[in-house]
Symmetry: C2
């Protein structure tokens, strides 16, 4: 008899914005779970979270917390991932890491399942989940790049508060209320007031003047596409939106790309939804992308300034496809390709 295989899963950073969403998505997609462990900082230990009707208690992460675990889905930040990667690997678990810690490590596959699933098979115990803005852009650009290589990308982002975590989302709401009540907003999580304001992404700047977030879009896109010479420039901006990111993308190809062809390709691409109503001027919006799995793409136009270029616009849920969903999809990919050591279902 062919028993279905199930897996022992741990979520590291279970109480965060992404961890919470991973839990929901595992349940919603019926991920084959034999055992589920919720790990977080000692501060969050003892909380209970609900999964499939059961209340699970959050445990404090420790070196032996990864024993008897097959897959760790980590979303607690780069330093936490770096702290625990050895324990995870030593315990024989596979790490799907949502932080930037290992993304550019040549031994770590960086995977968007719709784009480069085969890269997953090269893993040596860790697979990295790309940066949210990079994932969303890759979803829209890859299907076109397959048909005709992209030469250069100029992208401007409109990134929601959720990218800075659940507390930044709360801060945005608190600030908005303060301003409406005629008070001064107090930034604590974010460096500057975000309500009714916006600012260039505040990740560290390098000597070229690019911030880390922008360099992720440059370098991670190249790695995911396997296109080391792809030219990318990005301007990343934090906007007062709660949880979906938007991007204005200018794509230059090797030769002209018909708008109609691009539209048909994107319409047929898994994980992408074409949202264009030219009569009502209705295109992707963050509130419509929120809570959805698909990246919404629209306003595909021939660039009037360059016969080789197209302009397009997208919105995607930063927490779902930009983080939690992609991580779960990586786990599903590993499972379906038999790249995890499975545990037979105990009957």
């Amino acid at each position: 008899m062919n028993l279905p295989q199930t897996y022992r899963i741990a979520i590291l950073g279970a109480t965060g914005a992404v961890g919470t969403e991973i839990l929901k998505i595992l349940e919603h997609r019926n991920f084959p779970i034999a055992d589920l462990k919720l790990l977080a900082s000692p501060r969050s230990a003892g909380q209970t979270m609900s999964f499939a009707g059961e209340a699970l208690t959050v445990e404090a992460v420790s070196a032996d917390a990864f024993e008897n675990v097959d897959i760790v889905l980590a979303s607690a930040g780069g330093s936490i991932s770096k702290t625990w990667v050895e324990s995870i690997t030593r315990s024989g678990a596979l790490l799907v890491d949502n932080s930037s810690a290992f993304r550019m490590d040549p031994q770590v596959p960086l995977v968007v399942p719709e784009v480069n699933p085969d890269a997953a098979s090269l893993h040596r115990g860790t697979i990295a989940n790309p940066n949210c803005t990079t994932i969303l852009m890759a979803m829209a650009v890859w299907p076109l790049h397959q048909v005709q290589p992209v030469r250069r990308i100029v992208v401007s982002t409109y990134q929601s508060a959720s990218g800075a975590g659940a507390r930044a989302m709360e801060e945005l709401k608190t600030q908005a209320r303060s301003i409406l009540d005629g008070e001064e907003p107090k930034p604590e999580i974010l460096p500057y007031p975000l309500a009714f304001n916006l600012f260039p992404h505040n990740s560290p700047l390098d000597e070229s003047g690019y911030c880390e977030e922008e360099m992720k879009m440059v370098n991670e896109t190249r790695k995911i596409f396997g296109a080391g010479d792809l030219k990318v420039t990005a301007t990343c901006v934090r906007v007062p939106v709660l949880r979906a990111h938007s991007e204005a993308i200018n794509l230059e190809f090797d030769s002209p790309f018909a708008v109609e062809a691009a539209r048909e390709i994107l319409e047929a691409s898994p994980g992408v939804k074409l949202v264009e109503n030219w009569q009502t001027n209705y295109f992707p919006m963050p509130i419509d992308a929120t809570g959805r799995d698909e990246v919404l793409v629209g306003r595909i136009r021939q660039d009037l300034s360059n016969p080789l270029a197209l302009d397009l616009w997208l919105c995607g849920d930063q927490i779902r496809k930009g983080a939690a969903l992609n991580a779960v999809q990586i786990a599903e990919l590993l499972v379906s390709r038999n790249l995890v050591k499975p545990t037979a279902l105990e009957v």
Copy 2:
């Protein structure tokens, strides 16, 4: 004796967001006024507005309202300007028009005083004030274009509610409060909810897929720069900010442009303020541009994807330099170059 000359001014659309600001700026800049007439729709007639300590009563616009007026500063929308332009011209007044009605008319100069002041002398009774996003971009790009011609511009905008008028600003605040209170926001002025959301600019789309706002940036920039072959592509987006617009601009030149040189040029440009603190990641923000005359420019970077290109970021008060201030500056330019029929100061 050389009497200072003063002028009889009318503000058409005096009660709107831009009209109100024109009134403030005329007072603040000590514009040489002999007489000031506030004109608006019959709905707004009878209101009083304060100017230099005096209460002025708003009059309903009519054909003979422009008699004994030297300069009309109009900001009541294109159809209103079209309705009254003949009466204005017939009465011998000069029209500085803030609407899009006459901007692309070859007989109407389109003027940003820091960029193309000489164009003003060619007027035949009407001078057009450019679109707000175009003015802000022109302020940052023109000084560089003077040193080395710009070949192509890729711009993404982050446009505040004020661009859609005072009622849109109110709607943004009302919607934000509704959402914070757990209610559904009701869009009335804007087509979609703007609070904690954003959407591509909702001006009419043409068959190329560009919206009117984007085509203004393309065509008006060419006209102001006197560069009919300048290549521009724009993506215009409305964001939940109250009154300053932001723009992410990628500029491709004929040959490489050193970042340091660009910085020095912009630092020395009138009407531009360089705002860059690379240590604290502090760059132009809408809340800092609000109420200011200067266009704040920063994050000037060598584009990593193109040796001929620079990236830069700006914020500017959409109502001031983007509209009211530029209109008053045009009037000042006309006055200083003796291009209006003046009235001798009555002593």
